[in-house]
């Protein structure tokens, strides 16, 4: 061991420190992803996409045989849900017409939301148990950039782009312990912060922090993005309240949220590359 230290150990330590510093500097001086990460992502993209396709094919076959009964039951429930939603659509159409008449009366501008989407397939999931990230097969070539929101086909929030390469990007999901999003309780309009939590990561849940003492949340309350600050669009569904708890100090409350999106079964998502909310 002494020979190792005197001959090679110092050089290996020196080289390690130099490489570590270079990696940190490359990451710090790039807005979307470092040159090395970008190059590695581009080179490994075909293999990751192929691997994801194989995994998807295998799980598709196993799902085909194992979930027939569950799918039939889900089909019946969805038909019932569609009927209820059609009724809601009829009601909201009437409400929208009334809204339009009142806006015209008060000379208000039309409120609209213009989103630009880019569809993307998931080519890799995070290997670590300490994070929840997805790698998508779209990048800066398709106008994807850091801080773009990612949603599922149903419009539920999946996460936010935190790294973008030429033809790939990394999404930090809503479950990741480092994720923090401005949120709104849809029923009460209370503003809070939806954050990932390490102790809830395994059970696919997240926390709603900074609730006021008189929050008055109930189970099932829908949580959406607040859009405050203009970084993310407002109204994207994050999940629903499962439980309200008091923190250790006993002074404030927080809620456990069940996300609407099922990350394990996601294969395709949509990146909101641009949005414009006019009100």
């Amino acid at each position: 061991m002494k020979k190792f230290f005197s001959k090679n150990g110092i050089w290996i330590l020196f080289t390690t420190v130099i490489i570590a510093v270079m990696l940190c500097l490359l990451s710090a001086f790039s807005s979307s992803s470092s040159f090395l990460s970008n190059a590695a992502g581009v080179v490994t993209y075909p293999f990751r996409a192929a691997g994801s396709a194989v995994t998807g094919w295998v799980s598709g076959i196993s799902d085909h045989f194992s979930q027939v009964d569950a799918l039939q039951e889900e089909n019946a429930q969805l038909k019932k849900q569609i009927a209820e939603m059609e009724e809601d659509v009829r009601q909201s159409k009437a409400d929208s017409e009334e809204n339009q008449r009142l806006r015209t009366l008060l000379n208000l501008r039309q409120q609209r939301r213009d989103f630009s989407y880019e569809a993307a397939t998931i080519i890799e999931r995070s290997a670590s148990n300490w994070a929840s990230t997805l790698t998508l097969g779209k990048g800066t070539e398709q106008d994807v950039s850091v801080n773009d929101c990612v949603i599922s086909a149903e419009g539920y929030l999946v996460g936010v782009v935190t790294q973008a390469g030429l033809n790939w990007c990394t999404v930090t999901t809503v479950l990741d312990p480092s994720s923090q999003l401005g949120a709104l309780v849809f029923r009460t309009n209370e503003v809070a912060v939806a954050a990932g939590d390490l102790s809830l990561l395994g059970s696919n849940r997240l926390r709603l922090n900074y609730l006021s003492g008189q929050a008055g949340l109930i189970n099932g309350d829908q949580i959406v993005t607040s859009g405050l600050g203009g970084y993310y669009p407002s109204g994207l569904v994050i999940g629903s309240v499962e439980e309200v708890r008091t923190d250790n100090s006993g002074l404030s409350q927080y809620a456990i949220i069940q996300p609407k999106v099922e990350l394990a079964s996601l294969t395709e998502v949509f990146v909101i590359t641009d949005f414009d909310v006019v009100s």
């Binding site: 061991m1 190792f4 001959k7 090679n8 150990g9 290996i12 330590l13 080289t15 390690t16 490489i19 570590a20 510093v21 990696l23 940190c24 490359l26 990451s27 710090a28 470092s34 090395l36 990460s37 190059a39 590695a40 992502g41 490994t44 990751r48 691997g51 194989v54 995994t55 799980s59 890799e124 999931r125 995070s126 290997a127 670590s128 148990n129 300490w130 994070a131 990230t133 935190t162 790294q163 990394t170 312990p177 480092s178 939590d197 390490l198 102790s199 809830l200 990561l201 395994g202 059970s203 394990a264």
Partner: protein, 168 residues
């Protein structure tokens, strides 16, 4: 050992590591037991270093760590570079001074490699005020338990490579 054999040995080690990485990403990432999936990556650096000694093991750990850092999204840019060099060094230390390279040594260094990686995560998360102590300890325990079960398979793979190149 001739130059040709040396190159062949490291090609075989790299191919073995690549196989394990593919199995991790295509299969293990989709399996959840106790809400975690097996995480074999740190054990690669540890087991190879236990067979090859501190110098070669640290160089392998350094290269493997840099590759992991540029192809994944670690919590800090040099996470795996620092972790795997330290893991390789400690594993070589254990193999040289405590337990002779073999099945028991590979179990010990595999557990140590997971603990070092988890310690790195804990330090970073504590600095960023992410996660409670109980949550971190629970995750550490579950990940260690589930991942260690598969370490004998890694030992079998790399010990075979080591023995083959030693005999040749």
């Amino acid at each position: 050992m001739s130059r040709h054999d040396l190159i062949m040995k490291w090609i075989l080690y790299s191919a073995g590591a690549l196989c394990v990485v593919l199995i991790q990403s295509l299969i293990l990432n989709h399996i959840r037991i106790l809400s975690v999936h097996p995480f074999l990556i740190p054990m690669l650096a540890a087991i190879v270093a236990s067979f090859e000694g501190p110098r070669d093991g640290c160089v392998f750990g350094l290269i493997f760590g840099v590759l992991c850092d540029v192809t994944t999204q670690p919590p800090i840019p040099c996470f795996y570079t620092l972790a795997f060099v330290l893991i390789a060094f400690l594993s070589a230390l254990v193999a040289k001074n405590l337990i002779a390279p073999g099945f028991c040594c590979s179990l010990v260094v595999s557990a140590m490699s997971l603990l070092v990686t988890q310690l790195f995560y804990t330090l970073i998360f504590t600095y960023r005020s992410i996660g409670s102590t109980l949550g971190i300890l629970s995750l550490m325990g579950r990940e260690l338990l589930i991942s260690l079960v598969l370490s004998p398979l890694l030992y079998l793979l790399f010990s075979r490579i080591h023995r083959k190149m030693k005999l040749d």
